[in-house]
């Protein structure tokens, strides 16, 4: 399967902002946060269609999320994920002596996920990550 080296950014989106106000366990939050925005040209290179699942890996872990064709293109090789538990599984925890982890500009690799990988909901993700329910 085709893999692509990208830069991962995390940040706010208006849908993430409204989703969190509906509740962290709500469908609105899940649909607005367990996603990644990818440049349409990169999607073509990867052979992935919008809405398909994609696996994003960094040195710190990997996560499966749904792809969204970015409306903010062109930003080749830059992948954007809204703040939330899905992206934070894979961000760089190093604070470089400032207290602030690196939530933006993380080197990452992206590939189409295998058919058995699905996007976990919040409870499933927490259970898998922290082995606590």
């Amino acid at each position: 399967m085709e893999k692509m080296k990208v830069t991962l950014l995390s940040g706010r989106t208006i849908n993430q902002g409204t989703g969190k106000e509906h509740g962290k366990t709500s469908k609105e939050y899940y649909e607005s946060v367990a996603i990644c925005e990818i440049d349409p040209d990169d999607l073509k290179v990867l052979g992935i269609k919008e809405g398909a699942n994609v696996k994003i890996s960094t040195k710190f872990g990997s996560v499966v999320v749904k792809t969204i064709e970015s409306m903010r293109a062109p930003h080749p090789k830059i992948v954007y994920m809204p703040y939330g538990p899905w992206v934070n599984v894979i961000v760089n925890p190093k604070t470089h002596g400032t207290g602030m982890p690196s939530f933006k500009g993380i080197p990452a690799e992206i590939e189409a996920s295998s058919p058995s990988d699905c996007v976990l909901n919040l409870q499933e993700l927490l259970k898998q990550t922290f082995r606590k329910t």
């Binding site: 930003h75 925890p93 400032t98 207290g99 990550t129």
Partner: protein
């Protein structure tokens, strides 16, 4: 139905104070003037599926109901027995609760950290080094003729910032071409509709006068307020900008220093800096030097990427340099509605704005060592109290793992990811909806939070919960001294 006016919005740092709420049978049924996030909060806060309504305690791996007094006693016991507890959150509650929290942190010898350590903490470090020339948002609204957003997308994170204080608002001394353009467009559309209606009624053709004001402001704006957006991708806010500068990720520091050189009339001996052609950069710097009163709003795009507080050093220095040529100020785009208040209250009581460590009996401040993510990543804490925040969702994996493996007390109105992982959950009220208080806007202006509805039966205000835990902690310590 009673309409409550001038309600402050407990969401983002813009802290709008013109919200109108219609309340029916103790429930908010209509919201006026709020952004999408504000409306979502006011209309959904009482959804019982996502709300903590009863105190919970973890028994045999499962969260089960308990009484409020039992949950508080157990919380006090955890905090008293811990040798290095973390008290984290604070940015989405009122100043009164933060003040009690600081007392509690001192009493239990823990670390008091607020969410600014993973937001604008690096900005504070830099401001402490270099100082800041800033002002209030009212000054910007009425006087600024140049607005710069760097690493910030107000459309997504502070939706009414543009409309209330910057590009889309008419100030007393500074008109906004955008505002006039939108009004003109509305007028013309209305006129066209009327003409179409009269055509249909009179069955004869009516001549449409020429439409004025259809040139987008970006083309005709000469004397009016200008908007520059600098970001790693073309954000929604960038679509409204007169100049959009797309910088490569992690290269903001280079771009800021290059701009400083141009402000000082030095020449750049390269074709592009951080992916931005030098001629574009020269144009942007010319606009910055040419303004009468400019403001640089910077977001976490600068604090979270490579360089962190050094990026802010460069941004503050750029503002200082610009002040040799014109008048320029700078302001961080604070995230939560009371994160500024958390810094201010903490500074009053301890001398330091965040990451304050009381373990030695006196306040110690050293972000990088005493900050939440660092102490958790090094697995140094042995218990935690989280209030009005969701670190399990917002911290990197290793920090969150170490947070949930030790006893975890959560005070939150919502079923957040942290509340789902907690050992004790204390249901609190929504500050700014069910509890009043004080909060500080991003420009450090204090505003009152209103109580518009009565809280559910078992939910207590954060301040009351903390006071009772503090009382229990003192009782336990007194008992321990006697024995």
């Amino acid at each position: 139905m009673p309409v409550i006016k001038n309600v402050t919005c407990p969401i983002c740092g813009t802290f709008c104070d013109d919200i109108e709420l219609t309340v029916k049978k103790n429930v908010v049924v209509d919201v006026k003037n709020a952004c999408a996030m504000g409306e979502a909060k006011f209309l959904n806060y009482c959804n019982k599926h996502h709300r903590n309504l009863k105190p919970l305690i973890r028994k045999n791996g499962e969260l089960v109901e308990t009484s409020m007094s039992e949950a508080m006693k157990k919380s006090a016991q955890i905090l008293t027995e811990a040798s290095y507890p973390l008290l984290y959150g604070w940015s989405s509650t009122n100043c009164e609760a933060i003040s009690v929290g600081l007392e509690l942190a001192e009493e239990v010898g823990g670390i008091m950290d607020n969410t600014s350590s993973v937001c604008h903490g690096p900005s504070i470090l830099s401001i402490q080094d270099l100082g800041i020339s800033t002002c209030t948002l009212g000054q910007i609204r009425h006087r600024a003729d140049l607005i710069v957003y760097w690493g910030s997308d107000p459309y997504s994170a502070h939706p009414r910032h543009l409309e209330r204080y910057t590009a889309f608002t008419d100030g007393r001394f500074q008109p906004s071409e955008w505002k006039r353009y939108v009004s003109r467009l509305r007028g013309v559309t209305g006129k066209k509709k009327l003409e179409r209606a009269s055509e249909l009624v009179l069955m004869e053709e009516v001549s449409v006068p020429p439409i004025t004001g259809q040139i987008p402001p970006t083309l005709e704006m000469e004397k009016e307020r200008k908007l520059i957006v600098i970001d790693v991708r073309k954000t929604r806010s960038a679509e409204f900008a007169d100049y959009f500068v797309q910088v490569e990720p992690n290269k903001d520091y280079e771009l800021l220093q290059a701009m400083r050189m141009l402000v000082k009339n030095e020449e750049l001996e390269v074709d592009e800096v951080a992916g931005v052609p030098v001629d574009v950069l020269e144009k942007v710097v010319d606009v910055m030097i040419g303004c009468k009163f400019g403001i640089l709003f910077f977001g976490v795009g600068l604090t979270m990427s490579t360089g962190k507080h050094r990026n802010i050093d460069a941004a503050l220095a750029l503002t200082r340099d610009l002040n040799y040529r014109t008048k320029f100020v700078i302001m961080p785009m604070r995230g939560h509605f009371n994160v500024t208040g958390a810094n201010i209250v903490s500074t009053w009581q301890t001398g330091y704005p965040f990451s304050v460590d009381f373990s030695q009996g006196f306040p110690v401040y050293n972000p990088g060592e005493t900050s939440a993510v660092d102490v958790l990543s090094r697995d140094e804490t042995d218990a935690a109290l989280v209030i009005a925040s969701d670190p399990v969702a917002n911290f990197p994996r290793i920090a969150a793992e170490n947070l949930v493996k030790n006893p975890l007390i959560v005070i939150d109105p919502e079923k957040s990811a942290t509340a789902l992982m907690a050992d004790i959950v204390l249901p609190s009220t929504f500050v700014g909806i069910e509890t009043e208080g004080t909060a500080y806007r991003m420009d450090s202006v204090p505003l009152p939070l209103k109580k518009v509805v009565k809280p559910p039966k078992n939910c207590l205000p954060d301040e009351k919960i903390l006071q009772r835990i503090l009382r229990e902690v003192r009782k336990l310590k007194k008992k321990a001294r006697k024995t």
